[in-house]
Symmetry: D2
Subunit: 338 residues, 4 copies
């Protein structure tokens, strides 16, 4: 009897080959097994069916309902490289089968955290504005130009959500401030305290933070929980950094708070992307915009590839994956992708 080398099936759309299968990555994966790939669209059904029998690891968002999972008798892991959970998998059955369901979300988090710190400093210190003023000769020097500046040092900071993003942001914040409050309804107070954080009810967090980092994922029941009323309780002139999902906030209310000059806001995600050409959003004052640039950069994809290679190697050796995030079936099923 011949033992076949394990089959790795890569179906990563909307991720591209450049993102997830560089030549070096391909060499690594081919060193571990056979490789079948499909790029540019979701893999067609006949291709998927043709690999089911043998496939050991699926890298991508291939639809894997119960029937397909049953037919994939050798399947050990499914690796979602899109970072958000989608309803493409029967999570409960995959767990029952002992199939690892993993997400590359942790690989994006360092870039989002870096972005968030950068925008927080930009809001507090007015750096982009300072450049614009200098270019037109309207700059004022030293403290005269710093009338509205404040600092992240020693500031009370609130994190809404403490998943991958919060975990990546916290070590960057610690050398600035010891006052890090967290609201996350999925985590217990005792756990947050064991992480050196202050668990806080949402309303308290909003009303006491100089900086509010919105890092919560979108679920089936948290749409718009940062409502106009709640946004109104954030202290005057505080900075709000929206870095995870636009659905969790009343987007128009957030822009209104910025337009009136009451809050300083950085926004990377939108209710609709791309934003329509003529959208009035583009004119909002007191907002630092970016076009979903926080996480999706080459450094993040390099991290995805490295985590993926290392965890596939562990899994094919019968060892636990160490880098990628494991699906909590219940939470994965609640997550809203887009």
């Amino acid at each position: 009897m011949t033992t076949m080398r394990p089959l790795i099936f890569m179906d990563p759309f909307p991720r591209t080959q450049a993102m997830v299968l560089t030549p070096e990555t391909e060499t690594e994966l081919r060193g571990m097994g056979r490789l079948a790939t499909h790029f540019g669209s979701r893999a067609p059904d006949d291709l998927v069916e043709s690999v089911l029998d043998e496939v050991a690891v699926i890298i991508g968002q291939t639809a894997m309902d119960r029937g397909r999972l049953e037919r994939a008798a050798n399947l050990k892991a499914i690796i979602n490289v899109k970072a958000n959970w989608e309803p493409n998998i029967d999570y409960g059955y995959a767990q029952a089968r002992g199939v690892h369901v993993l997400s590359a979300a942790p690989a994006m988090a360092p870039a989002v955290a870096e972005f968030s710190i950068g925008q927080a400093i930009n809001l507090a210190r007015g750096l982009p504005r300072a450049d614009a003023a200098f270019r037109i000769g309207a700059e004022r020097y030293g403290i005269a130009g710093n009338g509205r500046a404040y600092s992240l040092h020693d500031a009370p900071v609130g994190l809404i959500g403490y998943g991958n993003l919060g975990r990546a942001l916290t070590p960057l914040l610690r050398p600035f401030t010891g006052q890090i409050a967290v609201h996350d309804p999925f985590l217990s107070d005792a756990y947050l305290e064991s992480e050196g954080l202050e668990p806080m009810a949402l309303d308290d967090l909003l009303s006491t933070s100089r900086f509010v980092f919105v890092l919560a994922g979108a679920t089936s029941d948290n749409e718009g929980f940062l409502s106009a009323d709640r946004l109104a309780t954030i202290p005057d002139d505080a900075g709000v950094i929206l870095a995870s999902r636009a659905e969790v906030v009343d987007f128009d209310a957030l822009l209104f708070e910025a337009d009136t000059g009451r809050l300083r806001v950085a926004i990377d995600v939108f209710p609709e992307e791309p934003v329509p050409a003529g959208s009035g959003w583009r004119d909002s004052a007191n907002v630092l915009f970016s076009a979903h640039l926080a996480g999706g950069m080459e450094a993040s994809y390099a991290r995805i590839r490295a985590m993926m290679i290392d965890d596939v190697r562990q899994i094919l050796a019968g060892l636990p994956p160490m880098h990628l995030q494991r699906a909590e079936p219940r939470a994965a099923a609640m997550a809203r992708s887009r």
Copy 2:
């Protein structure tokens, strides 16, 4: 015999009363002794002479040559609140007399470090540019918009100078990267290694760093040591953050490297301030400008006041000051102020 309460003399120009003597600060200082003040200009000679006999602590940049120091028999400390050493004091004689000569420079460093991290992220991630693109509808989403983005995470970073600024910046950098090289001709390799840093010759540091932080003070013999030739050795597309003194760099050469698109540059200090209205500097592309805003903000002055109050209290109690920087007579004499 009556013991007089110690006399504190405040002569802080160009610092203002708002910067260094808020009502709370005044209450604290008057709790420790008598207070004489002069604001708005350097204190006139007759006022200085009238306090010399009794003064215990001078807060400010009062000229204190040897003769005045000899006449100030009760003087215990001089606190420079301008942050840069000036040639206003006979440093050697003050030391011989056992007079503490102290600088508020450490109080400014956290703000400069925060600014420097912010600009490094701005250069690497193109945040200000992203906002401008979004406002005109020219944004590209996700990795399509991040073609030139890179990250501070795991990047090789070089610090030129490891004084107050370097010491404040290092803890902010550590959660991003373990590769922090330092060039500082005043410090030994063994000392830098004991701080967890990699001592590096200037030329090596320049040619291997993805981010170069220029944090060196200006001295009588380091003008323009970051010459055009040296700037040319910095790797293509690296980020350079100039946060200490413009004199240490060939300023036009630095702008040229930015104009040609070879380097990304953030500049907070200029050879001449204010910059002349029609200066061509203002048009340099690939530069993030700010008008000497890195350190001089209210948070820094609050820190000056807190350090000053605490150290004056220590000194009047015969105890060592703990916060402000002590003058090294030789280094203080070499420093170039402006």
Copy 3:
């Protein structure tokens, strides 16, 4: 229809009521649901069967084969408070059912890590010996008495195993030394590097470490892997701390290395416990003995109770447990308990 409050069944033998159900703990658990308990022995079958139908959480080592798991339709979690995995559960089927299988092992780890640091310093600095010498007037002062002393500061340290114990020990070691090597066949090099550790082959680790911490669990295939030949490669006069399981080492060979004075050894666990009264082990020189005292102290049980309460609350609320260790079915099945 009445909704019954969830049933928590506690069957913790050999853990006692004092260890896992203080009055405060009972109050907390009764606040979350109904409580059934059995102490002093494993719960009799009829008691177990009588609760199966309703039980939501089992705290203890109740035998839960597939049949019982099938009958326990409401079961959400099994919490092993003995810390070692045992073959009492059908781990694969529990996972398939989505039942959390959790261990209190992380609660014991801080105490074991503290013990291990203490014994490492004792071996290196000769503290117990110094006390004995002083009591009989044979002490020598200062460096004369420190002829054999060495330090954990800046020493090369090797951890064999990086599970709960290694994770708890590492932060205690970091302020002493930057040279922490790890051998753990279950973990990838890239993962260990991401933790700031140096992955190392076992033979290299043994031959280069000044301190060797044996922290590996016993599995079905690692008995005695620290053989006489391997122990012989540890550098002369190094310290070896055995803190996890005696089965992983050739115990007699380890004592021989201590008896000849070649190694300094601390031993907390034995192939047979209690050690027979007349065992020759008790006479071994150059060994610091303790009677399985590293982990099992009141502080550890307090931590078990706190983790258990918090995770039961999460689980009953449909949220993921945050403190206790989740079973890897394959690893749990390999673990050898005693």
Copy 4:
């Protein structure tokens, strides 16, 4: 004109050549200048006088009164390698001359801190006692043997004194506990808070600490300040580690508290050393004794040599010393050596 290479004079008694002038050290120093040495006793006056004219650096405790300082026109630094300040120098005049007066005390601190942590764990966990019990077959296993054990984890800890020893101990304590209180009358509350410590009045510290680390130096006015009355306020069963100077405590009262079983005590320093052969101290129960072994080990002397070489190089290059401690003239004059 010939420029003579600088003269380094080494007169380190009671330090020996083996401690401060290994062959490697000699090579380094001879690379920087000429070297004159005297070992085995304090250098005779005629030798001292013969080098005064040229000496640039004195390493040792040579008596340097004002007259000698005046005659040593080229002297740049005096390096005390005994670690305690002595009244051998006119500190004020040395400062007036701009002569660096430095102490090797920071080099001893890591070893003392390691010793202190080790003894704290020994007291809390009863490790030496556990070994003795095992050897006579009186051991009890697991929690049965841990009836009196407690942990440094999360314990309230008090440091009396925050000089070199406190600074070296604090990073070792942090991974165990966040509750570190400090009493040091030389330091302001604001400074201690800026170090992340809780300043505390002595009486509060004593009455609330589970572990008391006595790290204070002896001065002309603090003899016996840890009096019997004050020791009586320490909570029952707390651990007291005496690691700096015996003079600061009522030594008999401390032993009495241990003898009665009220406190657990570790003692490394004694009012008289060597302790007389027949001293009753040797019989004290509940004490872990050591014979002034905390700091004086080869690793500490290696650190002295490294710091000394590096700072001599800095000083001869006209740069500030970075490792050794600078004398505060007033504090140095108050220090009581022995």
